[in-house]
């Protein structure tokens, strides 16, 4: 996979959050514009003066240590945060992860290249197909077959990937909304996620543990009625998102909880290795799909949403907008998708059709060789990266030329986001820990591997 360096200057168009109708009508672009924050800009978040005065007036309190997690209603996945609180204010925090560690890398070293797909399903388990795609691209980069993947397979990978991104963001935003008390929003979003998963189940055979992508293509072609069903689904998801926005975006209770909470400057974010929606919330427009286009992402029109203050609200709004953009990509992809095979035509990589396996001795031998020995990946090392649900999902693969990886490291975006969680929550209230943690969107399977 050769990532071309970014040839284009991003068009810096800026506007308020468009309504679904505006997106559909395409009028959203004509709204007001303002420049993207320059590098070196820091969020204008200053504490209200009277709050500082209040703090001086407050009685001294004794610090208390409380355990948030590993089993706590708000901890999705299992994570432990040891908080030192003074009253309601968090004074120190120690974030401890690893409760879901299940040796992805050790297991991967013992599996064939194809057998790793089920493991990647379980990395970020709310967007498994993105992991499937990311891993397949890494192996293909090492095999040197990136350019030979059939176009249809590339489009299918984009489609399932973007569907997974939507489910990822729906889960993240829904769960966070539930945690700030808007449970109705949670159910609406989970409802929309369920529609997506139903379609994914029809396509891949499973809702969550899809194992759908293969090295050299995908396991199966789209179902015959996939495109109309996806169009209908996009319409319904848009409607749901509009309803969610009407409940949250302008609601002052919600805005007060999210605005100005857990601000991070672009410099800090880059220094702490942030990627994905969280980095974009600080105003840095880095999206792997835009800056290092892979698959056929350079053929679609889409916008990369960025925030302006790097607070929880920006993270919320960026994800919200990203779902809209994913739906735009989906619409273009099902429009553009060409007919053709979905597996690379290379007997060293893809399994022969069953007909040949059943009927010809060559097919049978080829089949046996591929299953027993695995795909032979030439020796070497490669780092391949895609835009996962939470940020740059990288796979660093070392092969020694056998049918099994010598090392298969995954760069987990949420693990790297989690290490700066303490920076975000110290100084805030206990009540702020929850939306902040939710907006980081730590997925246990990906973080702990």
């Amino acid at each position: 996979m050769s990532h071309p360096s970014p040839p284009h200057q991003p068009t810096q168009i800026v506007f308020g959050m468009p309504t679904p109708a505006e997106v559909v009508a395409g009028t959203a672009l004509e709204l007001r514009s303002q420049p993207v924050p320059p590098p070196g800009w820091t969020p204008p978040w200053t504490r209200e003066e009277d709050e500082e005065e209040e703090e001086e007036l407050e009685l001294p309190t004794e610090p208390m240590t409380v355990n948030m997690g590993p089993s706590h209603p708000a901890m999705h996945g299992t994570v432990r945060i040891v908080l030192t609180v003074e009253g309601e204010t968090v004074r120190a925090a120690d974030v401890q992860v690893g409760y879901l560690h299940r040796c992805f890398e050790k297991e991967a070293e013992a599996a064939t290249w194809t057998q790793i797909f089920p493991y990647t399903d379980r990395l970020n388990y709310v967007s498994p197909l993105l992991n499937n795609v990311g891993y397949a691209l890494a192996v293909e980069k090492l095999l040197g077959i990136t350019d030979r993947i059939p176009e249809r397979a590339q489009y299918i990978r984009v489609i399932v990937g973007e569907m997974s991104r939507i489910t990822d963001h729906l889960t993240c935003l829904g769960a966070s909304a539930a945690e700030v008390g808007a449970l109705t929003v949670f159910f609406w979003m989970i409802k929309a996620r369920e529609w997506l998963w139903e379609l994914i189940e029809e396509l891949t055979g499973a809702r969550l543990t899809n194992s759908y992508v293969r090295i050299g293509g995908v396991a199966a072609d789209l179902t015959p009625d996939f495109a109309p069903r996806l169009r209908d689904l996009i319409r319904r998801v848009r409607q749901t998102l509009g309803e969610v926005e009407s409940l949250l975006v302008k609601n002052r209770i919600f805005r007060d909880r999210m605005d100005g909470v857990a601000c991070f400057s672009p410099q800090e974010a880059v220094a702490w290795g942030w990627t994905g929606p969280c980095l974009r919330s600080t105003g840095v427009p880095y999206d792997v799909r835009k800056d290092h286009p892979y698959l056929v992402y350079d053929r679609f029109d889409f916008d990369v949403p960025v925030g302006s203050r790097g607070d929880n609200y920006d993270r919320f709004a960026v994800r919200m907008e990203e779902m809209r953009q994913s739906m735009r990509i989906l619409e273009q992809a099902i429009e553009q998708i060409p007919p053709g095979p979905v597996q690379i035509d290379d007997p060293r990589i893809s399994l022969p059709p069953k007909r040949e396996v059943y009927n010809t001795i060559e097919g049978m031998i080829n089949h046996f060789k591929l299953i027993v020995d695995g795909i032979k990946v030439p020796a070497g090392e490669v780092y391949s990266y895609t835009e996962g649900g939470n940020g740059e999902l990288g796979f660093y693969i070392v092969s020694d030329g056998t049918g099994r990886p010598y090392k298969c490291r995954v760069r987990p975006p949420s693990f790297i986001l989690m290490q700066s969680l303490h920076k975000l929550i110290v100084g805030g209230g206990i009540a702020d820990v929850i939306p902040t943690f939710g907006m980081i969107n730590m997925i246990g399977g990906e973080c702990d591997r």
Partner: protein, 164 residues
Amino acid sequence: MAKADLDKLVATFPEAIVATHSHCGDETAVVLPSHLSEIMRWLKESGGFDLLVDLTAVDYLGRDPRFEVVYHLRSMQTGNRLRIKVQIGEIEGGPPPEVDSVVSIWPAANWMEREVWDLYGIRFAGHPDLRRVLLYEEFVGHPLRKDYPKERRQPLVRRENLLP
């Protein structure tokens, strides 16, 4: 282009570069552990590589030096990427292998270095808080080393005080 960055690095630190390659388009430089801090600081400040994308290690059992710590960098200005590797050996029966920590250059290295310590047993000199991160403190051994048997079982033993 990333190749230019690599050339510049080689030109600036000719004595510290062990090898370079551009396999699959990934520009890679293997540097001496003694110069790691210096090179990394230069890359961050002069090379513009402000995002530490990934930090991991590979265990080449039976090779000398045995371990390789791998850094993936990205420049947010140019979008170029660079892979820096540093090879460290292991002294039989000696202290665990050690390289300089880059936490002071990129805070993002914090947990990734902890993870490498946790899973590979490579220490990072100057790390502020080198604890295990994915496994529990009582765990014996470093499971991603090639000589750690995959089937080995280690039940979680209890510690008296669970607070750090």
